[in-house]
C-alpha cells in the first residue's frame, strides 16, 4: 500500500466541507483563547489536547457504518438512564445539586452522555416503528425524552434539561409530529407559564428578571451581562484589533475563556469579524442540513437533522446570552469555548453526521 492509499483510507469517511468548517472554527478558538488568557499558552495548549482527543473520537465515529451507529442507540440510552438513576439515588451532592456519579474509577456526569443518547434513542425508535407510525408512537418517543430530562431537571440542572428537550423536540418535529399537536403544545406552554414561574427557585427567577435590568445585580450575574455587552458594543465595525481588547485585557470580562469567549472575539474583531464567524457557523449548519437532506434512512435523517439543529441552538443561546437577549445560563460557545467535555460531545455528533454522509452509498447499493 502506498502512502497515498493509506492517506486515502484514513480520510475516507471524513466529510471534507464539514471538516473544513469545523477546523476553521477550531483555529479561531485557539487564536481567541490565546488572547482571552492574556497571551498565555497554557489554555491554548490544553485546548489543543482537548481538540486532538475529540477529533480522534470524531474520526472513529465517522468510520462506524450506520448499522453500528444504530446498534449503539439502545445501549447508550439505557446506560445513560441507568447512570442518571444512579445519580438520583447515590449521586454525590455537590452542594445542592446531584450531578455527579462516582463509579469508583472516575466521577461521571451522565447528563453529558444524554445530549447524544436522547436523540439517538428517539431516532432509533422512530426507525423501528417507521411503517406504522401513529400519534401513540410520538407520545412514547416524547416519554423517552422526558424521562431523562425530568431526572436532569431534578438534579437540578435546568439549563441542560432544556437543551436536551430541545434536541428531543427536533427529532419529534422532523419525524413529522403534526402541526396541530405542536400548536397545542405552544398554547399549553404559554398557559402554564405562570405555574412554571411559581415552581422556579428564587435564584432562577432572579436570573430571568435580571435580563431586563442587569444593573440590579452589578456585582453578580448582572455584571457578566453588562460587561459582555460593553465588550461587544465597543468592538464596533472593525474591532479593536487582536490582543487589544481593553475589556478583555483589563480583566473586566468574566469567564473570558469559557462562556463569554464570544465577547472577547467580538471586541477584538468587531462586526466584520462577527460576519465571518456567523458565516462559518452558517456554513457548518448548512452542510449539516445538506447531509440531512441526502440521508438515506429515516434514522439517519432524524439524527442528522437533530444534531444540526442542536448545534445551531447552542450557538444561538451562547451568543444571545453574551449579547444580553437571553438569560445567563452556562452554555459554552460550540467549538470555540475552552473545555474538553463539550468539545468531545460536539465532535462525536459531527462524527455521526460524517458517517451518515459517507456511508449512505453503501446502504443504497
Amino acid at each position: 500500500m502506498t502512502r497515498r492509499q493509506l492517506w486515502q483510507r484514513l480520510i475516507a469517511h471524513l466529510d471534507k466541507p464539514l471538516l473544513l468548517g469545523i477546523c476553521s472554527l477550531l483555529l479561531i478558538s485557539l487564536l481567541v483563547l490565546y488572547s482571552a488568557s492574556n497571551a498565555s499558552w497554557v489554555q491554548p495548549i490544553n485546548q489543543m489536547r482537548n481538540i486532538a482527543v475529540a477529533l480522534a473520537g470524531m474520526w472513529l465515529v465517522a468510520k462506524l457504518p450506520l448499522h453500528y451507529l444504530m446498534r449503539t442507540a439502545v445501549p447508550v440510552y439505557v446506560l445513560g438512564l441507568a447512570l442518571l438513576i444512579g445519580v438520583a439515588l447515590f449521586g454525590e451532592i455537590s452542594h445542592g445539586a446531584r450531578r455527579w456519579l462516582n463509579l469508583g474509577v472516575a466521577t461521571v456526569q451522565p447528563s453529558e452522555l444524554m445530549k447524544i443518547g436522547v436523540p439517538l434513542m428517539m431516532a432509533w425508535y422512530f426507525e423501528k416503528n417507521e411503517a406504522t407510525l401513529t400519534l401513540k408512537n410520538y407520545f412514547f418517543a416524547a416519554l423517552l425524552m422526558l424521562l431523562p430530562v425530568a431526572l436532569i431537571a431534578r438534579q437540578p440542572d435546568l439549563g441542560t434539561a432544556l437543551l436536551i428537550s430541545a434536541s428531543g423536540f427536533y427529532v419529534l418535529f422532523l419525524a413529522g409530529l403534526s402541526w396541530r399537536v405542536i400548536g397545542g403544545m405552544c398554547v399549553a406552554g404559554l398557559a402554564s407559564a405562570p405555574v412554571l414561574w411559581s415552581l422556579l427557585h428564587d435564584y432562577q427567577r432572579h436570573r430571568i428578571l435580571m435580563l431586563f435590568d442587569p444593573s440590579q445585580d452589578a456585582l453578580g450575574k448582572g455584571y457578566h451581562t453588562i460587561q459582555g455587552m460593553i465588550a461587544v458594543g465597543s468592538g464596533g465595525i472593525l474591532g479593536k484589533g487582536y490582543l487589544n481588547g481593553t475589556q478583555t485585557h483589563l480583566e473586566f470580562l468574566p469567564e473570558r475563556t469559557t462562556d463569554f469567549i464570544f465577547a472577547v472575539y467580538s471586541e477584538e474583531f468587531g462586526l466584520l469579524g462577527n460576519l465571518i464567524l456567523l458565516s462559518l457557523y452558517a456554513f457548518v449548519v448548512m452542510r449539516g442540513f445538506i447531509i440531512t437532506g441526502n440521508a438515506s434512512t429515516y434514522f439517519t435523517r432524524l439524527m442528522a437533522g437533530s444534531i444540526t439543529l442542536t448545534f445551531a441552538t447552542y450557538t444561538f443561546v451562547n451568543m444571545g446570552m453574551v449579547c444580553g437577549i437571553l438569560p445567563v445560563v452556562g452554555v459554552p460557545l460550540p467549538l470555540i469555548s475552552y473545555g474538553g467535555t463539550s468539545m468531545l460531545t460536539l465532535l462525536l455528533g459531527f462524527g455521526m453526521l460524517m458517517s451518515i454522509e459517507t456511508h449512505k452509498k453503501l446502504v443504497k447499493s
Binding site: S40, H95, F173, G176, V232, G233, S234, T246, M319, C323
Partner: protein, 633 residues
C-alpha cells in the same frame, strides 16, 4: 400493502420530511437574522455609547471586603477578633514557574516547609484567577524588603488583610469553630444560593461551629469602589464607593471565665460539660475535652499537623458535648421517678425491700444492684439518694417501655435540642418500634429492665442531658438552649435578642417535682452518692451521679494493654442544678473513663457551680474529707 403503495408512501414521507427540513432551515435563518440584527445594533448603532462605556470602563468595580463580625462572651470579652497584617501572595496564572519563584522568594523572606506544604494544598483546591498565600503575617521589615525587590517577581504581591484570631484557642474551639479559605465546594454552595456576589473579594468563610452557623450574620455586606485605572490597569483615582457593612457582632451567653474554670477543672480527663441557665436557655459553658487550637485552620492547616489531630486516640476534633453519645446510666433515675409518679405506677411512700438482686417473673436471670446485698427498705426518695438499681428495675417493668418512651421524650431524650450549632446528634431513646426497625426483633421485658437504669440501648449527648436537667430544674418549663444571646448590628445599632420564650411547659405536678428535687439534694448530702460534691458549699446542690459502661472500643487494638484497661473504665456522669430552691445554673458533666460519677465528675461540677454562684473555686478537699465521704455509684 402493495409494493406500489409502499413506494408511494415512501415518496410522500420524503416529501413531508423535506418540508420539515425547509421549516428547520427557516428557523435557523430567523435565529441568524436575530443575532445579526442584535450585533448590528450593539456594534454599529450603539457603538458610540458602548465605546464611551468601555473608555470609562477604565473604571474598575472593586469589591471592598467587609470586616467580619466579632464574637464576644456575655461580659464583652473578645473570643474572635480581627487584626490587620500583610500576606505575600502568588498568582499562579501570572507566574511562569511557581516552584522557582518560591525558591527565589525564600532567599528574601523566610518560607518554611509548612508554608510550602500549605501552598501546595491551596494550589490543588484553588478557584480560577485566585491569588494564593505563600506567607501570612509578614513583619513590617519583611514587607519592606519584598517591596523593594517586587519587580523581580511578576505575579507576586503583598496584600493587606484582616486576620482572624481566637485568643482563647483550644478552650473554646468546639464552640466557636473556625473560618477557613473558601474552596471550590464552598464556592459552589455560594453560587447555588446566589450569594457569590456578596463574596467577591472574600477569602474566608465559616467552616465549623458558630463561625459556620452564623456565617450570614458575621460576614457582612461587601462594598463597591469604582476606581479609574490607566491603560495598564493601575488605579488612578476613586470615583465613587459604597462602603461595606461590617458583619454583625455576636454576643454569646457563654461566660468565658466560667468556660476556663470548667476547662481547667477537667485536668487531664477527656469528657464534656454543658452548663445552662434554666431560666432562659442561655448556655453558660460548653466544654469538650480535649480541645484543639483553631488558629492554624484559618489559613489551611498543614498535612502533618492535621494527621496528628485526626489520628490522635483522644479524638480532639470530636465535639463530645454536641456529638458524643453515651449511655446516661443512673442520671435517668430522677426522670424515671417522675414518670413513675406521673403514670401512678408508684406512690412516693411505696417501699420495696431490696435484696440486691432483681428477677423478672418466671425467669432465673439475675439483675444485680450495684450494692451487693442491697439497700434494705427503699422508697422513692431513698431510691434516688442511694441510686438503688433494684427499685428502678421494678419501676421500669411496671411502667412498660411505651410509657417510658413517652415520658422521657418529653424531656428531649432521643431528639436534637435545636441548639445553634450544626452537626448535633440526637442520641437514642429506644422504643418497640425502633427495635423492630433496627434489629427486626420484638421488645423483651429484659430490655425494659436495662432501660430503667439508663443502660441498654439508651444514648444521650452531654448537651441533651444538660437540657433535660435544666428543664427539670425549671419545674418543667423548657427553654431551647442557645449559645448566641444577642446579635448586634454596627450599622443600625439595632440589637436582636435570640428567642427567650419557653418552648413548652411539661405541667409537672408540683408535689412530684418537690419530691424528686429533695431527693436530688439528698444525693449531695451525707448518705447520698455524691456527698462531697456539696461539702462546705454555702448553697444547696441538687444532683445525680451516673455511670456509663464502656462496652466496646473501636480502635482498641492500637494501644498497649495498660491503655486499653484505662480506656475500658466506665464513663462518669454527674448532673446538677443549684441553688436547689431557685436554680440559676444546671449542668451535665461527662468524664470519659472517669469511673464513678461521684468521684471524678462531681468535683468538676462543684467548681463550675461555685465559680458561677460565688465567683471563686472551692478549696481542694483534704484526703480525710474524701475518705469520710466515701465513694459510690
Amino acid at each position: 400493502m402493495s409494493k406500489q403503495a409502499e413506494f408511494k408512501n415512501h415518496q410522500r414521507e420524503i416529501f413531508h420530511f423535506r418540508l420539515r427540513l425547509v421549516v428547520s432551515i427557516g428557523f435557523v435563518t430567523v435565529l441568524l437574522a436575530v443575532m445579526l440584527v442584535r450585533l448590528v445594533y450593539l456594534q454599529a448603532v450603539r457603538h458610540g455609547y458602548y465605546q464611551t462605556l468601555a473608555e470609562s470602563n477604565r473604571i474598575f468595580i472593586v469589591p471592598v471586603v467587609p470586616n467580619r463580625g466579632l464574637i464576644l462572651d456575655r461580659n464583652g470579652v473578645e473570643l474572635a477578633r480581627n487584626f490587620s497584617g500583610y500576606t505575600l501572595e502568588i498568582n499562579p496564572n501570572k507566574t511562569d514557574n511557581v516552584e522557582a519563584t518560591i525558591n527565589e522568594l525564600s532567599t528574601l523572606i523566610e518560607v518554611t516547609q509548612k508554608d510550602r506544604k500549605r501552598f501546595k494544598k491551596l494550589l490543588a483546591e484553588r478557584r480560577d484567577f485566585e491569588t494564593l498565600m505563600i506567607r501570612s503575617r509578614l513583619s513590617d521589615e519583611e514587607a519592606a524588603r519584598f517591596a523593594a525587590q517586587q519587580y523581580r517577581f511578576p505575579g507576586v504581591e503583598i496584600k493587606a488583610r484582616l486576620f482572624r484570631d481566637y485568643p482563647f484557642g483550644e478552650k473554646i474551639a468546639h464552640l466557636l469553630g473556625y473560618i477557613g479559605r473558601i474552596n471550590q465546594a464552598d464556592m459552589k454552595l455560594l453560587e447555588d444560593n446566589d450569594l457569590e456576589a456578596n463574596y467577591r473579594g472574600s477569602d474566608y468563610i465559616g467552616k465549623t461551629g458558630l463561625e459556620q452557623s452564623y456565617e450570614t450574620e458575621l460576614h457582612g455586606t461587601t462594598g463597591l469602589e469604582q476606581v479609574e485605572v490607566d491603560a495598564g490597569g493601575r488605579a488612578v483615582r476613586m470615583l465613587s464607593s459604597t462602603a461595606p457593612v461590617s458583619g454583625n457582632t455576636l454576643v454569646l451567653s457563654i461566660d468565658v471565665k466560667l468556660q476556663e474554670v470548667a476547662d481547667k477543672a477537667f485536668g487531664s480527663y477527656r469528657g464534656a460539660l454543658v452548663a445552662i441557665d434554666p431560666r432562659n436557655g442561655d448556655v453558660l459553658a460548653f466544654v469538650s475535652k480535649p480541645g484543639y487550637d483553631p488558629n492554624p485552620f484559618i489559613d489551611g492547616i498543614d498535612t502533618q499537623s492535621w494527621d496528628e489531630l485526626n489520628n490522635s486516640p483522644d479524638v480532639p476534633l470530636n465535639n463530645r458535648a454536641l456529638r458524643g453519645q453515651y449511655p446516661p446510666g443512673s442520671t435517668v433515675k430522677p426522670f424515671m421517678a417522675l414518670a413513675g409518679l406521673h403514670f401512678n405506677a408508684r406512690t412516693p411512700e411505696y417501699a420495696i425491700s431490696d435484696p440486691g438482686v432483681f428477677y423478672l417473673p418466671g425467669s432465673s436471670r439475675q439483675y444485680r444492684d450495684w450494692q451487693k446485698g442491697g439497700h434494705g427498705s427503699v422508697n422513692m426518695f431513698k431510691s434516688i439518694v442511694v441510686s438503688c438499681d433494684t427499685y428502678f428495675y421494678g419501676l421500669a417493668i411496671e411502667l412498660g417501655i411505651d410509657n417510658i418512651f413517652d415520658y422521657m421524650s418529653r424531656f428531649g431524650f432521643g431528639k436534637k435540642t435545636g441548639i445553634d450549632l450544626e452537626g448535633e446528634t440526637s442520641g437514642l431513646l429506644p422504643s418497640q418500634e425502633w427495635k423492630m426497625k433496627r434489629y427486626r426483633q420484638i421488645w423483651y421485658p429484659g430490655d425494659t429492665v436495662a432501660v430503667g437504669i439508663g443502660q441498654g440501648y439508651n444514648l444521650v449527648t452531654p448537651l441533651q442531658l444538660a437540657f433535660a436537667t435544666a428543664t427539670l430544674a425549671n419545674d418543667g418549663v423548657a427553654y431551647k438552649p442557645h449559645l448566641v444571646r444577642e446579635v448586634r448590628s454596627l450599622r443600625s445599632s439595632e440589637n436582636r435578642f435570640i428567642a427567650k420564650d419557653p418552648i413548652y411547659d411539661l405541667n409537672i405536678d408540683p408535689a412530684h417535682l418537690d419530691l424528686v428535687k429533695r431527693a436530688m439534694v439528698g444525693v449531695t448530702q451525707p448518705g447520698g452518692t455524691a456527698v462531697y460534691a456539696s461539702l462546705g458549699a454555702p448553697y444547696r446542690i441538687a444532683g445525680k451521679t451516673g455511670t456509663a459502661q464502656v462496652i466496646a472500643m473501636k480502635q482498641g487494638e492500637k494501644y498497649d494493654a495498660e491503655k486499653i484497661a484505662e480506656r475500658h473504665r466506665d464513663h462518669a456522669w454527674f448532673i446538677a442544678f443549684a441553688p436547689a430552691e431557685k436554680p440559676k445554673i444546671a449542668l451535665a458533666v461527662l468524664v470519659e473513663n472517669g469511673g464513678h460519677g461521684g468521684g471524678s465528675a462531681a468535683p468538676i461540677a462543684r467548681k463550675v457551680l461555685d465559680y458561677y454562684l460565688l465567683g471563686k473555686v472551692p478549696r481542694p478537699l483534704t484526703e480525710a474529707e474524701v475518705k469520710e465521704a466515701g465513694e459510690h455509684d
